[in-house]
Symmetry: C2
């Protein structure tokens, strides 16, 4: 008779749930669309419904489910298990998500920031397996991050730690939505990388093969920039290099503060694989101090879009599992 | 019958030793000059001699001494207890300092980086008492640092963590001895602040009341800059503000990564007290994100030059004390 935990990843588009055994193997999973219309109640009901399906799965029903881990966008009050607000899901203000789900499922639950959950997922079941210290950077719409030190997530004193997307990598630089200037996120997220290409073309009239995309009413994505770069487009080369350079500055600073074994890169931009890693390593080695060879490995995330839900399950195992 | 630990702070100029009781109160202390001539053997003998005096102190001899904590400059191999090298003390290459002292004193010993020891000192017995997460920045010859998370020092995977003096706060900026550019240390240490004033006067011919000091063959110190600033010297105002601005950039980035309750400032520059803290807080609040009010307190260290030796004693208590 096995023991299991359930992970729930609440995203703006999808709710993912997974049943994890003690080896952190996914034994069953479900995915439903995040209801856009019914406010917090609808979302909680969809989450509970998906989780219940897993409870009725034969593995779970022949064993014992110890608890539920929830990965959620924030800001969150982790101690209270409350979602303070959620930019992408209307009606989610001060919702005691943890206790509502615990009650609904008759299982203990724990709430975690989605980026932290993903970091724990990569650490326990992905690229960071077997390490002591790991940092995850998710290069997507913004730059999300999670820090694991000796197996424990870093939350900070006010739940605002591990926000490496807002590390200042260019003082006085690009204004960020957070109110700072020069945040890593403004240079190295997939969204802002593409946005920078668009600005150079539209506002500065720079020539580029990407201009056509804009002229036909389309939008430039980081994937378009990567492709144009591969084809030798000078603007795309410059835009890509600017992002990678600032990412390297951030990685060096992470090494100086935390000295992790590995910095794991996920999110849309990391889909470029070696096209990201190669230039990144070159900048990183150049910018890195010379007191010792770089010892921190830069690597790609391996769980892809499942890092969040697997990580949420790992959070549950950490809280409700006996050996953990 | 009380229990005690001994802290030893190995500095380039002085060796300090202290006997700490379980409340981390200093019950006895000694200070001797660091022998300059006799290599590692002479230094170890001086350390052991000073520690032995404490062992014969009446408090210690009526109780029990549990162990010795050693705070040392590095680089160090902490696990092996070995000093790999020591820039300021010739003859210190690959010296098993921990085991040599343990054998000499017939007591268990533990080796720690001096900046980390000082951070633990401030955390347990200084400005950081009662907190969970704290960062110490020592603004002296360079910028030393220590990070405490949930009562534990951050060492990193390769013993190179908590080197916040080499956080990049100005990409492409001033070249640092470490081989990087734009390190916090190159802007916010007492030494480099004074050096910047000298460069502006000597190389750029800028007018300043500090010029006289240089003309008479003297050197400019950060204290001179602080005094000239107070007297309204425009160059001193600019030099001070440049250092404080970059220190604020570093403090904001520390908050984004670690979100500590407090960043504690020590070292020569921190002797300026409110003259440092006032402008620093202003820059910090301006540069800080607007998603929430700054919650991390910027404060002065309270143990002064004793942070290292008290911290070394705290390290011993953590390792050899029963409750710790």
């Amino acid at each position: 008779m096995g023991e299991f935990c359930i992970g729930i990843d609440l995203g703006g588009t999808f709710i993912k749930v997974a049943l994890l055994d003690a080896a952190l193997t996914v034994r069953a999973r479900r995915q439903v669309e995040t209801p856009a219309e019914c406010g917090a109640e609808g979302v909680i009901e969809a989450m509970a419904g998906a989780a219940e399906e897993l409870l009725h799965h034969r593995a779970a029903s022949s064993g014992r489910v110890l608890g539920v881990g929830i990965g959620s966008p924030g800001p969150l009050d982790l101690d209270a298990g409350v979602v303070i607000g959620m930019p992408n899901i209307p009606g989610f203000q001060n919702v005691p998500l943890r206790d509502r789900l615990a009650e609904r499922l008759s299982l203990p639950a724990v709430l975690e920031n989605d980026a932290n959950a993903a970091a724990l997922g990569e650490y326990r079941a992905g690229s960071g397996q077997g390490l002591r210290h790991m940092v995850l950077l998710t290069l997507g719409t913004g730059v999300g991050s999670g820090i694991v030190i000796d197996g424990r997530l870093v939350h900070g004193a006010h739940g605002m730690g591990a926000e490496i997307g807002h590390l200042i990598v260019e003082p006085g630089g690009e204004p960020c939505g957070c109110g700072q200037r020069g945040c890593l996120e403004r240079y190295a997220s997939a969204t802002y990388l593409a946005d920078y290409a668009r600005r150079l073309i539209e506002q500065e009239g720079r020539p580029s093969s990407l201009r056509e995309l804009l002229a036909t009413g389309g939008e430039i994505t980081s994937k378009d920039v990567a492709e144009a770069r591969r084809a030798g487009d000078a603007l795309a080369v410059e835009v890509w290099d600017r992002a990678v350079y600032h990412l390297a500055v951030g990685c060096v600073s992470i090494c100086r503060v935390l000295d992790p074994e590995m910095i794991v890169l996920g999110g849309g931009l990391a889909k470029a694989g070696e096209e990201l890693l190669g230039p990144l390593r070159a900048h990183f080695e150049r910018l890195h101090w010379k007191l010792a060879e770089p010892k921190t490995t830069l690597a790609l995330a391996s769980l892809g879009n499942d890092a969040g839900v697997i990580g949420a399950g790992c959070v549950a195992w950490e809280h409700f599992g006996r050996q953990h």
